[in-house]
Symmetry: C2
Subunit: 300 residues, 2 copies
Protein backbone atom coordinates (compact mmCIF):
# COMPACT_ATOMS: atom_id res chain seq x y z
CA UNK A 1 0.00 0.00 0.00
CA UNK A 2 1.40 3.43 -0.92
CA UNK A 3 -0.20 5.50 1.83
CA UNK A 4 1.00 8.81 0.47
CA UNK A 5 -0.53 8.34 -2.98
CA UNK A 6 -3.75 7.09 -1.45
CA UNK A 7 -4.05 10.03 0.93
CA UNK A 8 -3.40 12.47 -1.91
CA UNK A 9 -6.56 11.11 -3.50
CA UNK A 10 -8.61 11.00 -0.32
CA UNK A 11 -7.79 14.06 1.75
CA UNK A 12 -9.07 16.72 -0.66
CA UNK A 13 -12.46 14.98 -0.71
CA UNK A 14 -13.02 15.43 3.03
CA UNK A 15 -15.48 18.30 3.42
CA UNK A 16 -14.49 20.86 6.04
CA UNK A 17 -16.83 23.12 7.99
CA UNK A 18 -16.32 26.86 7.65
CA UNK A 19 -14.46 27.31 10.95
CA UNK A 20 -11.67 24.94 9.88
CA UNK A 21 -8.75 27.26 9.03
CA UNK A 22 -6.28 24.45 8.22
CA UNK A 23 -7.68 21.09 7.13
CA UNK A 24 -5.94 17.74 6.58
CA UNK A 25 -2.44 17.80 5.08
CA UNK A 26 -0.36 19.89 7.49
CA UNK A 27 1.21 18.73 10.78
CA UNK A 28 -1.99 19.73 12.61
CA UNK A 29 -5.43 20.92 11.67
CA UNK A 30 -6.41 24.34 13.01
CA UNK A 31 -9.91 25.55 13.80
CA UNK A 32 -11.32 28.85 15.04
CA UNK A 33 -11.72 28.87 18.80
CA UNK A 34 -12.31 32.24 20.44
CA UNK A 35 -9.27 34.50 20.30
CA UNK A 36 -6.89 31.72 19.23
CA UNK A 37 -6.86 28.63 17.04
CA UNK A 38 -7.42 25.12 18.36
CA UNK A 39 -4.85 22.70 16.92
CA UNK A 40 -5.71 19.02 16.40
CA UNK A 41 -3.47 16.12 15.37
CA UNK A 42 -3.38 12.32 15.61
CA UNK A 43 -0.52 9.90 15.16
CA UNK A 44 0.24 6.28 15.96
CA UNK A 45 3.03 3.95 17.01
CA UNK A 46 3.09 0.31 15.96
CA UNK A 47 5.26 -2.33 17.64
CA UNK A 48 7.96 -3.82 15.39
CA UNK A 49 7.80 -0.69 13.24
CA UNK A 50 8.22 2.29 15.54
CA UNK A 51 9.76 0.47 18.49
CA UNK A 52 11.22 -2.94 19.32
CA UNK A 53 9.44 -5.59 21.41
CA UNK A 54 11.87 -5.03 24.28
CA UNK A 55 11.87 -1.20 24.24
CA UNK A 56 11.05 -0.09 27.80
CA UNK A 57 7.31 0.69 27.87
CA UNK A 58 7.85 4.08 29.55
CA UNK A 59 10.01 5.10 26.57
CA UNK A 60 7.38 3.85 24.12
CA UNK A 61 4.77 5.99 25.90
CA UNK A 62 6.99 9.06 25.91
CA UNK A 63 7.72 8.60 22.19
CA UNK A 64 4.01 8.33 21.41
CA UNK A 65 3.32 11.61 23.16
CA UNK A 66 6.43 13.45 21.95
CA UNK A 67 5.82 12.45 18.33
CA UNK A 68 2.50 14.28 18.55
CA UNK A 69 4.04 17.20 20.46
CA UNK A 70 6.49 17.61 17.58
CA UNK A 71 3.50 18.24 15.29
CA UNK A 72 2.24 20.95 17.64
CA UNK A 73 5.76 22.45 17.73
CA UNK A 74 5.84 22.64 13.92
CA UNK A 75 2.70 24.79 13.96
CA UNK A 76 4.21 27.16 16.54
CA UNK A 77 1.64 26.01 19.10
CA UNK A 78 1.36 25.11 22.76
CA UNK A 79 -0.05 21.65 23.59
CA UNK A 80 -2.92 21.16 26.00
CA UNK A 81 -4.76 17.79 26.06
CA UNK A 82 -4.37 14.27 24.72
CA UNK A 83 -6.51 11.14 24.46
CA UNK A 84 -5.24 7.72 23.38
CA UNK A 85 -6.36 4.28 22.32
CA UNK A 86 -4.41 1.07 22.79
CA UNK A 87 -5.06 -2.20 20.96
CA UNK A 88 -2.71 -4.79 22.43
CA UNK A 89 -2.06 -8.53 22.41
CA UNK A 90 -0.04 -8.28 25.63
CA UNK A 91 -1.27 -10.00 28.77
CA UNK A 92 1.18 -8.23 31.03
CA UNK A 93 -0.15 -5.81 33.61
CA UNK A 94 3.36 -4.63 34.52
CA UNK A 95 3.96 -3.50 30.93
CA UNK A 96 0.85 -1.29 30.99
CA UNK A 97 1.59 0.13 34.43
CA UNK A 98 5.06 1.11 33.22
CA UNK A 99 3.62 2.48 29.97
CA UNK A 100 1.19 4.73 31.83
CA UNK A 101 3.84 5.76 34.34
CA UNK A 102 6.01 6.94 31.45
CA UNK A 103 3.09 8.63 29.75
CA UNK A 104 2.14 10.47 32.94
CA UNK A 105 5.74 11.58 33.45
CA UNK A 106 6.07 12.89 29.88
CA UNK A 107 2.68 14.61 30.11
CA UNK A 108 3.75 16.45 33.25
CA UNK A 109 7.07 17.41 31.69
CA UNK A 110 5.24 19.14 28.83
CA UNK A 111 2.37 20.41 31.00
CA UNK A 112 -0.46 18.58 29.27
CA UNK A 113 -3.33 16.39 30.51
CA UNK A 114 -3.98 12.83 29.29
CA UNK A 115 -7.70 12.97 29.75
CA UNK A 116 -9.25 9.88 28.19
CA UNK A 117 -9.05 6.91 25.89
CA UNK A 118 -9.72 3.26 25.32
CA UNK A 119 -7.89 -0.01 25.88
CA UNK A 120 -8.79 -3.14 23.86
CA UNK A 121 -7.39 -6.60 23.18
CA UNK A 122 -6.22 -7.51 19.67
CA UNK A 123 -7.81 -10.53 17.96
CA UNK A 124 -5.92 -13.81 17.42
CA UNK A 125 -4.70 -12.91 13.94
CA UNK A 126 -2.09 -10.71 15.63
CA UNK A 127 0.73 -13.00 16.77
CA UNK A 128 3.26 -12.25 19.49
CA UNK A 129 3.27 -9.42 22.00
CA UNK A 130 2.63 -6.03 20.51
CA UNK A 131 0.22 -3.19 20.06
CA UNK A 132 -1.09 -0.34 17.99
CA UNK A 133 -1.01 2.91 19.98
CA UNK A 134 -2.91 5.94 18.73
CA UNK A 135 -2.77 9.35 20.37
CA UNK A 136 -4.61 12.54 19.53
CA UNK A 137 -3.53 15.90 20.79
CA UNK A 138 -4.90 19.41 20.98
CA UNK A 139 -3.03 22.65 21.28
CA UNK A 140 -3.41 26.37 20.83
CA UNK A 141 -1.77 29.03 18.71
CA UNK A 142 -2.61 32.65 17.88
CA UNK A 143 -3.80 33.00 14.31
CA UNK A 144 -1.05 35.52 13.48
CA UNK A 145 1.63 33.07 14.71
CA UNK A 146 0.54 29.86 13.02
CA UNK A 147 3.27 28.14 10.98
CA UNK A 148 2.22 26.27 7.86
CA UNK A 149 4.07 24.11 5.36
CA UNK A 150 2.66 26.30 2.63
CA UNK A 151 3.87 29.64 3.98
CA UNK A 152 7.49 29.70 2.72
CA UNK A 153 8.22 32.50 0.26
CA UNK A 154 10.76 32.75 -2.55
CA UNK A 155 14.07 33.98 -1.11
CA UNK A 156 13.43 32.68 2.42
CA UNK A 157 16.37 30.92 4.01
CA UNK A 158 15.86 27.30 5.06
CA UNK A 159 16.90 26.53 8.64
CA UNK A 160 16.85 23.37 10.69
CA UNK A 161 17.10 22.64 14.40
CA UNK A 162 19.42 19.90 15.69
CA UNK A 163 21.00 17.22 13.52
CA UNK A 164 19.93 14.35 11.31
CA UNK A 165 20.33 10.64 10.61
CA UNK A 166 21.00 7.46 12.56
CA UNK A 167 18.06 8.06 14.85
CA UNK A 168 17.26 4.41 15.59
CA UNK A 169 20.79 3.22 16.41
CA UNK A 170 21.43 6.19 18.71
CA UNK A 171 17.97 5.87 20.29
CA UNK A 172 17.34 9.52 19.45
CA UNK A 173 13.88 8.37 18.26
CA UNK A 174 13.09 7.56 21.90
CA UNK A 175 15.02 10.26 23.73
CA UNK A 176 14.40 13.35 21.59
CA UNK A 177 12.85 16.49 23.02
CA UNK A 178 10.12 17.99 20.82
CA UNK A 179 11.00 21.54 19.76
CA UNK A 180 8.04 23.18 21.48
CA UNK A 181 9.79 26.13 23.10
CA UNK A 182 11.85 26.77 19.97
CA UNK A 183 8.81 26.52 17.68
CA UNK A 184 6.78 28.80 19.87
CA UNK A 185 9.61 31.38 20.07
CA UNK A 186 10.07 31.38 16.30
CA UNK A 187 6.36 31.45 15.45
CA UNK A 188 5.05 34.73 14.09
CA UNK A 189 8.23 36.63 14.93
CA UNK A 190 10.76 34.91 12.66
CA UNK A 191 8.85 32.29 10.73
CA UNK A 192 5.36 31.38 9.59
CA UNK A 193 6.52 28.33 7.62
CA UNK A 194 7.66 25.15 9.35
CA UNK A 195 7.38 21.37 9.32
CA UNK A 196 8.70 18.66 11.61
CA UNK A 197 10.94 15.96 10.19
CA UNK A 198 9.47 12.61 11.08
CA UNK A 199 9.56 10.75 7.75
CA UNK A 200 12.93 11.99 6.48
CA UNK A 201 14.56 15.36 5.77
CA UNK A 202 14.22 15.06 2.00
CA UNK A 203 10.62 13.85 2.05
CA UNK A 204 9.41 16.39 4.61
CA UNK A 205 11.29 19.23 2.93
CA UNK A 206 9.69 18.25 -0.35
CA UNK A 207 6.26 18.39 1.30
CA UNK A 208 7.01 21.91 2.49
CA UNK A 209 8.30 22.95 -0.94
CA UNK A 210 5.33 21.44 -2.77
CA UNK A 211 2.86 23.10 -0.38
CA UNK A 212 4.63 26.45 -0.82
CA UNK A 213 4.92 25.95 -4.60
CA UNK A 214 8.62 26.73 -4.49
CA UNK A 215 11.84 24.95 -5.42
CA UNK A 216 14.65 24.58 -2.88
CA UNK A 217 18.42 24.58 -2.98
CA UNK A 218 19.62 22.30 -0.20
CA UNK A 219 23.26 22.71 0.86
CA UNK A 220 24.11 19.09 1.66
CA UNK A 221 27.47 20.00 3.17
CA UNK A 222 25.75 22.17 5.80
CA UNK A 223 23.37 19.51 7.15
CA UNK A 224 24.44 18.60 10.70
CA UNK A 225 24.93 14.85 11.06
CA UNK A 226 24.06 12.90 14.19
CA UNK A 227 26.78 10.61 15.61
CA UNK A 228 27.56 7.89 13.10
CA UNK A 229 25.25 9.23 10.41
CA UNK A 230 26.22 9.75 6.78
CA UNK A 231 24.45 12.15 4.46
CA UNK A 232 22.16 9.46 3.01
CA UNK A 233 20.96 8.49 6.46
CA UNK A 234 20.48 12.17 7.33
CA UNK A 235 18.38 12.76 4.23
CA UNK A 236 16.18 9.70 4.38
CA UNK A 237 16.13 7.88 7.73
CA UNK A 238 13.54 10.06 9.41
CA UNK A 239 12.48 9.98 13.07
CA UNK A 240 14.60 13.11 13.63
CA UNK A 241 11.76 15.18 15.13
CA UNK A 242 13.59 18.37 14.24
CA UNK A 243 12.04 21.47 12.71
CA UNK A 244 12.63 22.80 9.23
CA UNK A 245 11.63 26.45 9.00
CA UNK A 246 11.78 29.32 6.54
CA UNK A 247 13.12 32.70 7.61
CA UNK A 248 12.96 35.85 5.47
CA UNK A 249 16.51 36.84 4.58
CA UNK A 250 16.23 40.32 6.06
CA UNK A 251 15.53 39.05 9.59
CA UNK A 252 17.73 35.93 9.57
CA UNK A 253 20.73 37.62 11.15
CA UNK A 254 18.59 39.11 13.95
CA UNK A 255 17.00 35.70 14.56
CA UNK A 256 20.40 33.98 14.81
CA UNK A 257 21.68 36.64 17.22
CA UNK A 258 18.66 36.36 19.49
CA UNK A 259 18.52 32.56 19.41
CA UNK A 260 18.77 31.66 23.07
CA UNK A 261 18.41 27.87 23.31
CA UNK A 262 21.99 26.85 24.09
CA UNK A 263 21.33 23.10 23.79
CA UNK A 264 19.58 23.39 20.41
CA UNK A 265 21.71 24.34 17.45
CA UNK A 266 20.20 25.92 14.37
CA UNK A 267 21.76 25.78 10.93
CA UNK A 268 20.96 27.47 7.66
CA UNK A 269 20.91 24.57 5.19
CA UNK A 270 19.46 26.13 2.07
CA UNK A 271 17.12 28.56 0.42
CA UNK A 272 13.66 28.57 -1.09
CA UNK A 273 14.11 29.76 -4.65
CA UNK A 274 11.79 30.64 -7.47
CA UNK A 275 8.27 29.37 -7.92
CA UNK A 276 8.26 25.71 -8.81
CA UNK A 277 6.76 22.29 -8.21
CA UNK A 278 8.68 21.57 -5.03
CA UNK A 279 11.87 20.25 -6.62
CA UNK A 280 14.92 20.03 -4.36
CA UNK A 281 18.37 20.70 -5.86
CA UNK A 282 21.80 20.47 -4.27
CA UNK A 283 24.25 23.39 -4.57
CA UNK A 284 25.60 22.01 -7.85
CA UNK A 285 22.11 21.97 -9.38
CA UNK A 286 21.58 18.21 -9.12
CA UNK A 287 17.92 17.25 -8.70
CA UNK A 288 17.57 15.41 -5.39
CA UNK A 289 13.82 14.90 -5.68
CA UNK A 290 14.34 11.98 -8.08
CA UNK A 291 15.96 9.84 -5.37
CA UNK A 292 14.16 6.53 -5.18
CA UNK A 293 14.28 6.41 -1.39
CA UNK A 294 13.25 9.68 0.19
CA UNK A 295 12.04 8.35 3.53
CA UNK A 296 9.07 6.73 5.20
CA UNK A 297 6.04 7.53 3.10
CA UNK A 298 3.34 6.83 5.61
CA UNK A 299 2.22 10.07 7.23
CA UNK A 300 -0.51 12.51 6.29
Amino acid sequence: MNELKLLKKILPSLKQCRDVVVGPGDDCAAVENGDSLLLLAADQLISDIHYLPDTPPAKVAAKLLKRNLSDIAAMGGTPSYAVLTIASSRDDEAWFLEFYRGLNEAAQQFNISICGGDLATLPDNFTGDGEILSLSITGRVKQKNICLRSNARAGDLLYCTGCFGNSFATEHHLDFIPRLTEGSWLAGEYTIAAIDVSDGLLLDLERMAVASQLDVVLKLEKIPLRNGADIDSALTNGEDYELLFAVPKEIAEKMEKRWNFPTTRITCIGEFTNSGNGTIYDSSGKNLSNSTNKGYEHNT
Copy 2:
Protein backbone atom coordinates in the same frame (compact mmCIF):
# COMPACT_ATOMS: atom_id res chain seq x y z
CA MET B 1 -6.24 -9.07 30.01
CA ASN B 2 -9.02 -7.54 32.13
CA GLU B 3 -9.01 -4.00 30.74
CA LEU B 4 -11.54 -2.69 33.24
CA LYS B 5 -9.55 -3.74 36.30
CA LEU B 6 -6.35 -2.42 34.78
CA LEU B 7 -7.86 0.96 33.93
CA LYS B 8 -9.28 1.27 37.45
CA LYS B 9 -5.69 1.16 38.66
CA ILE B 10 -4.27 3.43 36.00
CA LEU B 11 -6.75 6.22 35.35
CA PRO B 12 -6.69 7.85 38.81
CA SER B 13 -2.90 8.19 38.52
CA LEU B 14 -3.10 10.40 35.42
CA LYS B 15 -2.47 13.96 36.59
CA GLN B 16 -4.92 16.52 35.21
CA CYS B 17 -4.28 20.22 34.71
CA ARG B 18 -6.57 22.64 36.55
CA ASP B 19 -8.78 23.45 33.57
CA VAL B 20 -9.86 19.80 33.17
CA VAL B 21 -13.41 19.72 34.56
CA VAL B 22 -14.03 16.03 33.79
CA GLY B 23 -11.00 13.72 33.50
CA PRO B 24 -10.78 10.10 32.35
CA GLY B 25 -13.62 7.75 33.33
CA ASP B 26 -16.73 9.32 31.79
CA ASP B 27 -17.90 9.06 28.16
CA CYS B 28 -15.87 12.19 27.34
CA ALA B 29 -13.40 14.40 29.11
CA ALA B 30 -14.45 18.05 29.47
CA VAL B 31 -12.14 21.05 29.71
CA GLU B 32 -12.74 24.76 30.18
CA ASN B 33 -12.88 26.60 26.86
CA GLY B 34 -14.26 30.14 26.89
CA ASP B 35 -17.98 30.24 27.62
CA SER B 36 -18.51 26.51 27.11
CA LEU B 37 -16.70 23.23 27.76
CA LEU B 38 -14.63 21.43 25.13
CA LEU B 39 -15.43 17.69 25.08
CA LEU B 40 -12.78 15.13 24.08
CA ALA B 41 -13.14 11.39 23.49
CA ALA B 42 -11.33 8.58 21.65
CA ASP B 43 -12.53 5.13 20.68
CA GLN B 44 -11.45 2.38 18.31
CA LEU B 45 -12.81 -0.33 16.04
CA ILE B 46 -10.90 -3.54 15.42
CA SER B 47 -11.64 -5.90 12.53
CA ASP B 48 -12.95 -9.34 13.57
CA ILE B 49 -14.12 -7.81 16.86
CA HIS B 50 -16.25 -4.79 16.03
CA TYR B 51 -17.02 -5.69 12.42
CA LEU B 52 -16.66 -8.62 10.04
CA PRO B 53 -14.08 -8.84 7.25
CA ASP B 54 -16.80 -8.42 4.63
CA THR B 55 -18.69 -5.56 6.30
CA PRO B 56 -18.98 -2.79 3.68
CA PRO B 57 -16.18 -0.29 4.39
CA ALA B 58 -18.53 2.71 4.26
CA LYS B 59 -20.52 1.13 7.12
CA VAL B 60 -17.35 0.46 9.11
CA ALA B 61 -16.41 4.12 8.73
CA ALA B 62 -19.84 5.33 9.78
CA LYS B 63 -19.78 3.03 12.82
CA LEU B 64 -16.37 4.35 13.85
CA LEU B 65 -17.63 7.92 13.77
CA LYS B 66 -21.08 7.22 15.27
CA ARG B 67 -19.61 5.24 18.15
CA ASN B 68 -17.71 8.37 19.14
CA LEU B 69 -20.72 10.61 18.48
CA SER B 70 -22.67 8.47 20.94
CA ASP B 71 -20.15 9.47 23.64
CA ILE B 72 -20.71 13.14 22.82
CA ALA B 73 -24.50 12.55 22.97
CA ALA B 74 -24.20 11.02 26.44
CA MET B 75 -22.58 14.22 27.72
CA GLY B 76 -25.38 16.36 26.23
CA GLY B 77 -22.92 17.85 23.75
CA THR B 78 -22.68 18.89 20.12
CA PRO B 79 -19.84 17.36 18.08
CA SER B 80 -17.41 19.45 16.06
CA TYR B 81 -14.16 17.85 14.80
CA ALA B 82 -12.57 14.42 14.44
CA VAL B 83 -9.13 13.04 13.59
CA LEU B 84 -8.38 9.37 12.94
CA THR B 85 -5.55 6.88 12.57
CA ILE B 86 -5.69 3.68 10.53
CA ALA B 87 -3.27 0.76 10.85
CA SER B 88 -4.18 -1.74 8.15
CA SER B 89 -2.86 -4.89 6.50
CA ARG B 90 -5.11 -4.35 3.49
CA ASP B 91 -3.59 -3.69 0.07
CA ASP B 92 -6.86 -2.63 -1.49
CA GLU B 93 -7.23 0.95 -2.62
CA ALA B 94 -10.94 0.49 -3.36
CA TRP B 95 -11.57 -0.48 0.27
CA PHE B 96 -10.02 2.75 1.53
CA LEU B 97 -11.79 4.92 -1.03
CA GLU B 98 -15.11 3.41 0.06
CA PHE B 99 -14.16 3.78 3.73
CA TYR B 100 -13.42 7.49 3.32
CA ARG B 101 -16.53 8.02 1.19
CA GLY B 102 -18.62 6.58 4.02
CA LEU B 103 -16.74 8.60 6.60
CA ASN B 104 -17.24 11.81 4.67
CA GLU B 105 -20.95 11.08 4.24
CA ALA B 106 -21.45 10.37 7.94
CA ALA B 107 -19.44 13.46 8.89
CA GLN B 108 -21.65 15.65 6.74
CA GLN B 109 -24.80 14.03 8.15
CA PHE B 110 -23.74 15.05 11.66
CA ASN B 111 -22.18 18.36 10.61
CA ILE B 112 -18.63 17.66 11.72
CA SER B 113 -15.23 17.97 10.03
CA ILE B 114 -12.75 15.09 9.66
CA CYS B 115 -9.68 17.26 9.77
CA GLY B 116 -6.62 15.03 10.06
CA GLY B 117 -5.03 11.71 10.83
CA ASP B 118 -2.55 9.06 9.86
CA LEU B 119 -2.55 5.91 7.75
CA ALA B 120 0.03 3.15 8.32
CA THR B 121 0.66 -0.45 7.28
CA LEU B 122 0.53 -3.22 9.90
CA PRO B 123 3.60 -5.43 10.33
CA ASP B 124 3.70 -9.07 9.20
CA ASN B 125 2.61 -10.49 12.56
CA PHE B 126 -0.93 -9.43 11.65
CA THR B 127 -2.33 -12.07 9.31
CA GLY B 128 -5.21 -11.61 6.88
CA ASP B 129 -6.95 -8.41 5.85
CA GLY B 130 -7.90 -6.15 8.68
CA GLU B 131 -7.19 -2.99 10.59
CA ILE B 132 -7.24 -1.07 13.82
CA LEU B 133 -9.19 2.17 13.43
CA SER B 134 -8.92 4.86 16.07
CA LEU B 135 -10.94 8.07 16.05
CA SER B 136 -10.86 11.04 18.38
CA ILE B 137 -13.62 13.57 18.54
CA THR B 138 -14.22 16.97 20.05
CA GLY B 139 -17.49 18.61 20.95
CA ARG B 140 -18.98 21.42 22.98
CA VAL B 141 -21.47 21.70 25.83
CA LYS B 142 -22.45 24.49 28.19
CA GLN B 143 -21.17 23.81 31.69
CA LYS B 144 -24.68 23.98 33.19
CA ASN B 145 -25.91 21.33 30.73
CA ILE B 146 -23.17 18.74 30.99
CA CYS B 147 -24.40 15.20 31.75
CA LEU B 148 -22.18 12.99 33.88
CA ARG B 149 -22.39 9.36 34.98
CA SER B 150 -21.95 10.56 38.51
CA ASN B 151 -24.83 13.05 38.59
CA ALA B 152 -27.80 10.74 39.32
CA ARG B 153 -29.54 11.42 42.64
CA ALA B 154 -31.52 9.15 44.95
CA GLY B 155 -35.13 9.04 43.78
CA ASP B 156 -34.35 9.89 40.13
CA LEU B 157 -36.18 7.77 37.60
CA LEU B 158 -34.05 5.75 35.16
CA TYR B 159 -34.99 6.18 31.50
CA CYS B 160 -33.61 4.69 28.31
CA THR B 161 -33.92 5.59 24.64
CA GLY B 162 -34.70 2.90 22.06
CA CYS B 163 -34.45 -0.83 22.66
CA PHE B 164 -31.80 -3.39 23.55
CA GLY B 165 -30.23 -6.70 22.56
CA ASN B 166 -29.43 -8.60 19.37
CA SER B 167 -27.49 -5.68 17.92
CA PHE B 168 -25.08 -7.72 15.80
CA ALA B 169 -27.61 -10.04 14.14
CA THR B 170 -29.92 -7.14 13.27
CA GLU B 171 -26.98 -4.96 12.13
CA HIS B 172 -28.16 -2.27 14.52
CA HIS B 173 -24.49 -1.92 15.51
CA LEU B 174 -23.83 -0.56 11.99
CA ASP B 175 -27.07 1.29 11.27
CA PHE B 176 -27.83 3.01 14.59
CA ILE B 177 -28.23 6.78 14.83
CA PRO B 178 -26.37 8.32 17.77
CA ARG B 179 -28.77 10.11 20.13
CA LEU B 180 -27.27 13.55 19.63
CA THR B 181 -30.45 15.59 19.23
CA GLU B 182 -32.17 13.72 22.07
CA GLY B 183 -29.16 14.07 24.39
CA SER B 184 -28.82 17.74 23.63
CA TRP B 185 -32.57 18.35 24.21
CA LEU B 186 -32.51 16.52 27.55
CA ALA B 187 -29.26 18.06 28.79
CA GLY B 188 -29.60 20.60 31.55
CA GLU B 189 -33.39 20.81 31.23
CA TYR B 190 -34.41 17.27 32.21
CA THR B 191 -31.24 15.43 33.08
CA ILE B 192 -27.66 16.01 34.12
CA ALA B 193 -26.87 12.28 34.45
CA ALA B 194 -26.47 10.06 31.40
CA ILE B 195 -24.34 7.33 29.86
CA ASP B 196 -24.38 5.61 26.47
CA VAL B 197 -24.78 1.84 26.33
CA SER B 198 -21.94 0.43 24.28
CA ASP B 199 -20.69 -2.43 26.45
CA GLY B 200 -24.05 -3.74 27.74
CA LEU B 201 -27.04 -2.31 29.61
CA LEU B 202 -26.15 -3.96 32.90
CA LEU B 203 -22.47 -3.05 32.77
CA ASP B 204 -23.01 0.56 31.70
CA LEU B 205 -25.84 1.04 34.20
CA GLU B 206 -23.58 -0.31 36.92
CA ARG B 207 -20.91 2.23 35.91
CA MET B 208 -23.46 5.01 36.25
CA ALA B 209 -24.68 3.69 39.61
CA VAL B 210 -21.15 3.26 40.96
CA ALA B 211 -20.16 6.76 39.83
CA SER B 212 -23.31 8.21 41.44
CA GLN B 213 -22.86 6.07 44.60
CA LEU B 214 -26.44 4.85 44.37
CA ASP B 215 -28.18 1.51 44.06
CA VAL B 216 -30.71 0.91 41.28
CA VAL B 217 -33.95 -1.02 40.92
CA LEU B 218 -34.15 -2.16 37.29
CA LYS B 219 -37.61 -3.22 36.07
CA LEU B 220 -36.60 -6.02 33.71
CA GLU B 221 -40.12 -6.37 32.35
CA LYS B 222 -40.05 -2.76 31.11
CA ILE B 223 -36.84 -3.00 29.06
CA PRO B 224 -37.73 -2.69 25.35
CA LEU B 225 -36.30 -5.61 23.38
CA ARG B 226 -34.98 -5.34 19.85
CA ASN B 227 -36.35 -7.81 17.27
CA GLY B 228 -35.35 -11.32 18.26
CA ALA B 229 -33.69 -10.31 21.54
CA ASP B 230 -34.35 -11.95 24.89
CA ILE B 231 -33.74 -10.23 28.21
CA ASP B 232 -30.25 -11.73 28.65
CA SER B 233 -29.16 -10.40 25.29
CA ALA B 234 -30.71 -7.00 26.12
CA LEU B 235 -28.84 -6.83 29.41
CA THR B 236 -25.42 -7.98 28.24
CA ASN B 237 -24.89 -7.90 24.47
CA GLY B 238 -23.96 -4.25 24.20
CA GLU B 239 -23.46 -2.20 21.02
CA ASP B 240 -26.92 -0.67 21.57
CA TYR B 241 -25.67 2.94 21.47
CA GLU B 242 -28.74 4.06 23.40
CA LEU B 243 -28.76 6.52 26.29
CA LEU B 244 -29.53 5.73 29.91
CA PHE B 245 -30.47 8.90 31.79
CA ALA B 246 -31.75 9.94 35.21
CA VAL B 247 -34.74 12.28 35.52
CA PRO B 248 -35.92 13.82 38.82
CA LYS B 249 -39.37 12.39 39.59
CA GLU B 250 -41.05 15.79 39.78
CA ILE B 251 -40.21 16.69 36.17
CA ALA B 252 -40.52 13.23 34.60
CA GLU B 253 -44.14 13.67 33.52
CA LYS B 254 -43.41 17.04 31.91
CA MET B 255 -40.40 15.54 30.11
CA GLU B 256 -42.49 12.66 28.73
CA LYS B 257 -45.21 15.04 27.53
CA ARG B 258 -42.76 17.32 25.77
CA TRP B 259 -40.72 14.49 24.20
CA ASN B 260 -40.92 15.25 20.52
CA PHE B 261 -38.74 12.68 18.76
CA PRO B 262 -41.39 10.44 17.18
CA THR B 263 -38.93 7.82 15.92
CA THR B 264 -37.14 7.47 19.28
CA ARG B 265 -39.10 5.86 22.09
CA ILE B 266 -38.20 6.51 25.70
CA THR B 267 -39.07 4.16 28.54
CA CYS B 268 -38.84 4.43 32.29
CA ILE B 269 -37.03 1.21 33.26
CA GLY B 270 -36.23 1.78 36.91
CA GLU B 271 -35.22 4.08 39.71
CA PHE B 272 -32.07 5.18 41.49
CA THR B 273 -32.64 4.33 45.14
CA ASN B 274 -30.74 4.93 48.33
CA SER B 275 -27.04 5.53 48.63
CA GLY B 276 -25.09 2.40 47.85
CA ASN B 277 -22.17 0.85 46.04
CA GLY B 278 -23.85 0.70 42.67
CA THR B 279 -25.72 -2.56 43.14
CA ILE B 280 -28.49 -3.30 40.63
CA TYR B 281 -31.61 -5.15 41.85
CA ASP B 282 -34.62 -6.36 39.91
CA SER B 283 -38.15 -5.52 41.12
CA SER B 284 -38.21 -8.62 43.32
CA GLY B 285 -35.04 -7.57 45.09
CA LYS B 286 -32.73 -10.02 43.33
CA ASN B 287 -29.15 -8.73 42.99
CA LEU B 288 -28.34 -8.54 39.27
CA SER B 289 -24.82 -7.19 39.78
CA ASN B 290 -23.52 -10.64 40.64
CA SER B 291 -24.15 -11.94 37.12
CA THR B 292 -20.98 -13.43 35.75
CA ASN B 293 -21.49 -11.94 32.28
CA LYS B 294 -22.40 -8.28 32.39
CA GLY B 295 -21.11 -7.25 28.99
CA TYR B 296 -17.96 -6.28 27.16
CA GLU B 297 -15.48 -5.07 29.73
CA HIS B 298 -13.11 -3.16 27.50
CA ASN B 299 -14.01 0.51 27.59
CA THR B 300 -12.79 3.33 29.81
